[in-house]
Subunit: 461 residues, 2 copies
């Protein structure tokens, strides 16, 4: 039974900011769980030798998560990947922003805290600032959103989330709300993650502007609580579950290739965003002056296939989405179409802003751990595109199975696996190239990998 | 070897319109393959008894396709479903619209015709006109688009479609085009179908305006040629393959539920389309005056999950997407969000046009028959939503397997199966209700079903 009191509280009690050993806001650093001094960070950033970094032996990550990273081969001054791995405690608030408050008569029986675990990977571009900011703040934004709905997620026996926050109905059983759509608890968690990414993006925008910084980052987040993984991805990092002989992808990539139609559609609806520089059509190659008047291959926003159109003068402009394979870019500038930051990203030498074509909203998938049984070799792999550019899901799954089977009795097997994957993708210097075992080009990008063991969900290995 | 001549032809030689026994443009009718006189059509439209109609015994459809239909139980004056099933002959043109022409030196060795088979289902609303027009013309639009690219699809040994129609390069082998993206032939067929739907929609718009008619229809098309099914769907009809113990869906449905985010996004980008009548947010129920100031559940265009926002005066407006389950509608008016027609569909008693929120573009999927082996009981089922509203894919697959196994030696087994499915979904009158075998409500809608046997792909049964 609930006793309902109307209390307007001008002051919101939120949990205090967590105490941590992290460097101040604006200092470049590596993930705090690597426990590196600034000197070590600088020393380990050698882009000629590309040493593989991992947490110190006596500093286990939550869930005995394995982690390893390597810097790029020179494409930027620093390692623009960032990573976070930490417990998050979701706390019941004693009041809700200037709104209704419930005092439960037998409050002590109610859940007051929910223990969650958070993993985040952030792949920066145009400078490390956005990725550093995201790695420091996105989990606070998520915590904030989830604590707003603590009464819903903290009460698993309750029916569906109520139409009005703080009230009890909403399960459609009350006659006055008989036409109310039923929402499930999972949906409000998904919504919380989506809104948290949006809020974090706004904060990063303010930070970048006030610190005269630029740049952006992808964000791949895994949040575990109440027996489920919520995987939120905005960008081209990837999470997969490797379980026995199966690979289960938990995220999709968002790039100028996969989001071509969304971008062209916006260009159709808001042609002013293209200025006089760009055409919204896609062509297999740049249109040449002697193509004009000929029927040439093209795609418009509504087409998944290709058609022929008569080339016009206007088609000589640079296409808003152009390039082949991984070189495909929006407005010739950026390949990844979702992420945080990039508020002031402009097309070189123009006043055309690219941000309207980018999205900060993640796609959220849910993986229910309680529906499955896991063995010691079943893991969730999260990695930035540096890994996936040179290894397929199957390559990674094969490597996982072989490695973990070989290292059955090794206490640090998940961190060793992360190192193994990073080394496999970075390759070795050969004839002045970073080269894979099969002789092809290795990854020249930053590579960061989490290996999350699934068998005992947060216990020790 | 090709001899290239530049010929400008003011007159385009297109294949002549096919001779058929169909009624004139503006007369209501049932599918021509039912061979009904106007008197029979009227007699068979009894909405009290709902007789099941099927083609006469001596008039086999192509591929020995089975077909059956039933009229609705009174929701509209006539059966608003329409169907087409016919061979389509794609012919090489002797010239291309004011463009380059190729004369092949050994032309007789080249393919001059491609035999295709076409099935179409059109579920009308707001009157039968759009569905009748679509059933008469969409296959001509498709034929037209495919004949534009005949040189590509008629030449399976050629590499990828050329950047310039009529030229030979385009496979990336020429050095001057070394950065050209490779396109596959399947992609230009997909594009042809997408453009054909768009052209047909434009034609229907012109027809409706000039005949002072309104209404629209969904369109589900299956086109077979060169060993592949191309399935194009705009609406909520559905095609599935039932093969041994598997069901393979070949289409998705496009409704206010599945396209909610697309519709809300357009409302965000073009708020003027909502006038003063609608809000772009979705809520689990209508917002009431006493909700204002409270935190209420909502979804915006970027959200797959739900969040809470403080309700404002503006949220009292009718949501652009609203309703529960199958009652969910765009602007309170229409549940299906893709199809042909509806050019003048307005929100009742306003000057707000709904067409901008609708799409005439199909999603195209490809099913390669040459990758599979088929038995006598393997079929493709196409049906309007009248069937799927009361039967799941599994229900249909079970019915297919049981029925065809029982009727192994029956020559008309595929038409009998179509009848069986239609009767199963229409149910029987019981206590003044159309009732299913299990006592629940049967389908009150028009129901149309094609059963396409897959084992001998166009031969006789």
């Amino acid at each position: 039974m609930f006793k309902r009191l109307r209390v307007r509280s001008p002051l919101v009690k939120r949990s205090p900011a967590p105490v941590c050993e992290e460097p101040p806001e604006n200092v470049y650093h590596r993930p705090h769980f690597l426990h590196q001094s600034p000197g070590e960070t600088s020393q380990n950033s050698d882009q000629m030798t590309r040493p593989v970094l991992f947490p110190p032996r006596n500093k286990n990550l939550p869930w005995c998560t394995g982690y390893a990273e390597v810097i790029n081969a020179g494409k930027s001054l620093s390692n623009e990947d960032q990573a976070t791995c930490r417990p998050v405690i979701l706390k019941k608030r004693t009041s809700i922003d200037e709104d209704w408050v419930f005092l439960c008569q037998n409050e002590d029986k109610q859940t007051q805290e929910i223990m969650a675990t958070y993993w985040g990977l952030f792949d920066g571009h145009g400078g490390p600032t956005a990725a550093i900011q995201a790695s420091k703040h996105l989990h606070h934004c998520i915590k904030d959103q989830l604590e707003d709905i603590f009464d819903i997620i903290g009460n698993p026996t309750a029916a569906s989330p109520p139409m009005r926050l703080g009230e009890q109905n909403g399960n459609g059983s009350q006659t006055s709300y008989s036409k109310e759509k039923k929402i499930c608890v999972e949906s409000v968690v998904k919504g919380a993650l989506e809104i948290a990414f949006k809020k974090c993006d706004e904060q990063i925008g303010v930070y970048l502007a006030s610190h005269n910084q630029t740049g952006g980052c992808t964000a791949l987040v895994v949040l575990h609580f109440q027996g489920k993984f919520f995987v939120a991805s905005a960008g081209d990092s990837r999470a997969i579950v490797v379980q026995k002989n199966d690979v289960l992808p938990l995220s999709n990539e968002f790039t100028a290739i996969t989001e071509r139609q969304r971008i062209q559609h916006l260009a159709f609806l808001k042609p002013e965003l293209l200025g006089e520089e760009f055409s919204r059509y896609e062509f297999p190659r740049r249109v040449k002056r002697n193509d004009v008047g000929k029927k040439i291959l093209y795609r418009d926003y509504f087409m998944s296939g290709w058609g022929y159109k008569t080339a016009e003068e206007d088609d000589l402009k640079y296409p808003v989405v152009h390039g082949d394979g991984r070189q495909t870019r929006v407005m010739g500038t950026i390949a990844v179409t979702r992420g945080l930051g990039d508020h002031k990203l402009m097309v070189h030498d123009t006043d055309l802003c690219i941000k309207p074509f980018l999205s900060c909203i993640p796609e959220v998938t849910v993986f229910d751990l309680e529906q499955e049984e896991f063995g010691l070799n079943d893991v969730l792999i999260m990695a930035t595109d540096g890994l996936w550019d040179v290894m397929s899901n199957k390559d990674v799954a094969d490597a996982v199975k072989n490695f973990l089977e070989d290292q059955k009795h090794e206490a640090r097997r998940y961190t060793m696996l992360a190192q193994y994957l990073v080394v496999k993708a970075r390759g070795f210097p050969f004839n002045n190239n970073w080269t894979l075992e099969d002789g092809s080009f290795a990854s020249y990008d930053d590579i960061s990998v989490f290996v999350i063991p699934l068998h005992n969900q947060g216990g020790t290995a």
